[in-house]
Amino acid sequence: MSNLKETLKAQIIEQLSLEDLNPADIQDDAPLFGGDGLGLDSIDALEFIVLLETHYGIRIADPSQGREIFYSVNTLADYIEKNK
């Protein structure tokens, strides 16, 4: 599981072009979206959907489901484990 989280962080950085970040900069439980988090927005939410399909073969048909799934690296990793 922790491997998955480290891999996820690298994939997030790549998919969202977070050029100044390293995986170590992203806390497992930190909110990814909104002002307090990495400051990601709704465009990034769509990029997450692409990430999930490209790397994990998981399809999310309704973008509004994204809010819960992509809350943090933890919630994202949980979702992947449950749905892969």
Partner: protein
């Protein structure tokens, strides 16, 4: 036209951003040169910067560097080919897609008005916001729009132009673009006011099928009561060899080829030393027959 250039900035292959006189250190552009860029991080927050293509970075930085406490009451941007990098990226995205989902960022940023839109968002600006895409006359049409805004009573008008080169354009160079100039990128932004200190843009005119250039120019000068002898400088696109005025310079040698480079010609005109009542004329004939004439006082 009653437009005073209050401030003007450019970012391109010259080392000119923030310089008080772009004529200093001006060098002819060679193949293989690159944009001389400032540190974009000083002007654009990381959250936006990470997504932005070169044309977005340079134009937003130029616009940011001009902002003051007084909000712009209109924004007009010209771009001939728009956000090419993102356009190409999205073409690749959907043509080479293996899965069902497609990455949206490049699509969102491929529309021509991403530049002007990004400026309005960064500045929190709610005013009139327009994007003109009329090939080699995109800057002139944006400038004409800016002048119309001033005539409408606006007092603090932002006008600019930007274009970027991508590697793919080299493919088109030999057969379609046919130029000896390197393909380059650049942006120029300026603040226009109805009055005040600064060079004046006296007139800007465009023609779509100019067959008699000399006559068009003569008529333009006459219309503005300017004698050719009063032209201290004529800045012309590279395919011209006019002998009018005291000095003639081909501006594209300093910009390379992009289709809104006449905006940098305006910057050159602005920074050219003015003596009493002399004038500068810009003659943009980059796409033969599509003529842009701009007179600076």
């Amino acid at each position: 036209m009653k437009a005073v250039i209050h401030k003007i900035v450019s970012i391109n292959h010259q080392d000119c951003f923030g310089k008080s006189n772009v004529w200093e250190n001006l060098i002819p552009i060679q193949a293989g040169s690159a944009v001389v860029a400032p540190d974009y991080k000083e002007y654009i927050p990381a959250a936006s910067l990470r997504r932005f293509s070169p044309v977005l970075r340079m134009s937003l930085t130029a616009a940011q560097s001009l902002k003051t406490d007084e909000a712009f009451d209109s924004i007009s941007v010209g771009t001939s080919l728009g956000c090419l990098k993102d356009t190409e990226k999205f073409l690749q995205t959907f043509i080479q897609a293996t899965g069902d989902t497609l990455s949206p960022t490049a699509f969102i940023q491929s529309t021509h008005n991403t530049i002007a839109g990004a400026i309005s968002m960064a500045l929190g600006n709610h005013a009139y916001n327009m994007t003109h895409t009329q090939n080699s006359l995109s800057f002139e049409t944006a400038l004409i729009d800016g002048a119309i805004c001033l005539n409408d009573g606006k007092k603090n008008v932002l006008v600019g132009a930007a274009d970027e080169a991508i590697d793919f354009l080299e493919q088109l160079k030999e057969e379609m673009i046919q130029t000896a100039l390197p393909l380059t990128s650049g942006t120029t932004f300026l603040v226009l006011k109805p009055e005040g200190e600064g060079r004046k843009i006296i007139d800007c005119q465009i023609r779509f099928s100019c067959t008699d250039l000399d006559s068009e120019i003569a008529h333009f000068l006459e219309k503005n009561n300017v004698d050719p002898d009063q032209l201290a400088l004529v800045l012309q696109s590279n395919n011209l060899s006019l002998t009018l005025g005291k000095q003639q310079i081909n501006y594209e040698q300093f910009t390379g080829l992009y289709y809104t480079s006449s905006a940098f010609a305006l910057h050159l005109a602005n920074d050219f030393q003015k003596h009493s009542d002399d004038f500068v004329l810009i003659v943009n004939n980059q796409m033969n027959g599509k003529l842009g004439l701009t007179l600076i006082g």
